[in-house]
């Protein structure tokens, strides 16, 4: 029995840690979705780019992946601004039959990024051999006669804590600064924001940059605990999308909760059904969210608030 509980709690902890990182990826996508009304299907590929930046910084200059968050994040911010200015904005102006052209455009960007990474860095699996990767905290270290044994990997918990810190910073930025408030105004009502004198076009560019920077930071945090290969982007794009659906389109708070739900659910399916089924669990949750909770977690939060 104790073994069962131990396994369950261990899985739960792993899920929450994973969920914190997922939330960071999801927030990036949901911000872009809310402000620009487009889905960035190159999201995972941008994360892959950040991971390679971080990887090379580590391999060549011995910069710790956690420090390169502050290098790769800004780098991705400018990459995002460039993509937005030179590729996505021109398409917004082009007349066409299908309005989904922008989404298809981001697919094209993702393909190019993934393939270029394969050409330049080969499709080998890589990882950063940081010395703390195998260290862990154990429950028995703190509490001698604990009835069960739980462990907490140091790299995982560090990544999680930094992800939480970045999320808090972002929250502060969005609620306390002028630019942040303008971004939220643009997301809520574009025309009203325009009338209030918000430079909507600039907000779009900045938002795309921030979204990319967030996923870039998430990439650096994933690097010490995950493998790196050029085609890893697609899977993370899907994860980000599932989180945004689960959390409610365009909702930042929803994305955080959605990320944690997904993380816990995934690690549960991996433990109790087998690793191969984890992606299916991911989509089961996606389908369940669409069928039973079309507005996502955000709609639940909202209805609670209105109920008061």
């Amino acid at each position: 029995m104790a073994v069962q509980i131990e396994l369950f709690l261990q899985t739960l902890i792993a899920g929450i840690l994973l969920g914190g990182l997922y939330a960071l990826i999801g927030i990036g996508m949901t911000l872009i979705m809310g402000v620009m009304k487009i889905i960035n299907l190159a999201h995972g590929e941008l994360m892959m780019v950040a991971m390679y930046i971080s990887f090379w910084l580590f391999t060549l200059l011995h910069i710790d992946p956690y420090i390169s968050v502050f290098i790769a994040g800004p780098a991705l911010f400018f990459l995002g601004i460039g993509l937005q200015k030179f590729l996505i904005n021109p398409v917004l102006r082009v007349e066409s039959i299908l309005p989904e052209n922008q989404v298809i455009l981001t697919v094209g960007i993702g393909m190019v990024l993934a393939n270029l990474a394969t050409i330049f860095f080969t499709s080998n699996y890589r990882s950063t051999p940081v010395d703390y990767a195998t260290k862990a905290f154990y429950l028995t270290d703190f509490w001698k006669d604990a009835p069960i044994e739980l462990s907490l990997s140091m790299a995982w918990s560090l990544s999680f804590l930094i992800a939480v810190a970045i999320t808090l910073l972002l929250w502060f930025f969005l609620t306390r600064t002028d630019t942040g408030k303008s971004i939220r105004a643009t997301a809520q009502d574009l025309d009203a924001a325009l009338l209030m004198g918000v430079n909507v076009r600039r907000m779009r560019v900045v938002t795309f940059g921030i979204g990319c920077a967030l996923v870039g930071a998430a990439g650096c945090l994933f690097l010490p605990i995950y493998y790196l290969f050029p085609s890893l982007g697609g899977q993370f794009t899907l994860i980000a999308f599932v989180i945004t659906i689960l959390g409610g389109l365009g909702s930042t708070n929803g994305a955080i909760i959605g990320g944690i739900i997904l993380g816990v659910f995934e690690s549960m399916t991996a433990t109790y059904l087998g690793m191969g089924w984890a992606p299916v669990g991911r989509f089961l949750i996606f389908v369940a969210a669409l069928v039973f909770l079309p507005g996502g977690v955000a709609s639940l939060i909202r209805s609670k608030k209105l109920g008061k």
């Binding site: 299908l98 989404v103 960007i109 190019v112 999308f241 992606p279």
Partner: protein, 314 residues
Amino acid sequence: MKKSLPILILLILLAVLPHIGVSSYIMHILVLVIIYSMIGMAWNLLGGFCGQVSFGHAAYFGVGAYTAGILYSKLGLSAWWGLPLSIIVVTALSLLIGSICLRLRGPYFALGTLAMGEVLRVTAENLVKFTGGDVGILLRERTWVGKTWYYYIILLLAIGTYLLVKKVIESKLGYYFVAIREDQDAAESMGIDTTLYKTIALCLSGAITGMAGAFYTNYMGYIDPKVVFNLHDISIVTIMVVMVGGVATYWGPTIGAIIMVFLAEIIRSNPGLGAAHQTLFGILLIFIIIFLPNGIVGDFPKLRRLLRLGGTPT
């Protein structure tokens, strides 16, 4: 008569093509072109005319292919029975996917279908008892050694698809589809049951794609989840075929398929470019979206003006 003459010539040309000493390699390329143009036409029915952009056509293709494959490997029947049966199986699948994904609109629908395609791939990889998992299904005996009969069968299917799409789009149904694409809310308020008609478009599109998948199993003699549920090689190339050729045109998917398949072959056979083929596809996609958003057929007047072939613009 005047109008149908070029089509008649084209048909005769296509019919005699296998008998004028074309190499087996070229025949293979032609079969691929026709398969892709068939899926492209199916995608166009849903995406181009009805406005529901799907990123998950690999789901229908793969399920069609596996219908034929499982009939052969588990029931010992000829895989050709998969062709009619896949219509039923894939229509049922389309109803299921439609009931989930058609709740979403626009780009969200696109991503929903993408997720469906991926979920089916992972399912096929993991249901080892049923699908053989990553090992795939191998047809031990092929019906014909040469490619001629395969060519005729897929040609017939593609012509049937073309006629079906044309018939549907020129009927009342087609007008409903276009109305839904242009403004779903307006269509709804005009009394069009948008959910019903979107589901019809999805089922038609899915069934045609599924048939192409079942044919693929018979033609290639080997399928595995990574090939038939491939996101890039099936779902995205299908979108590219239509985008390059022309969205919401009758001939667009065929033109697009010819360009895409030949381009892919040229790139792959060139050792220097082979590794970069997705980059080149991606750049082509970006270029098409920015400069020719309605494809070669759709933006033909614009293209002619650009190349100064059309003389004075009217």
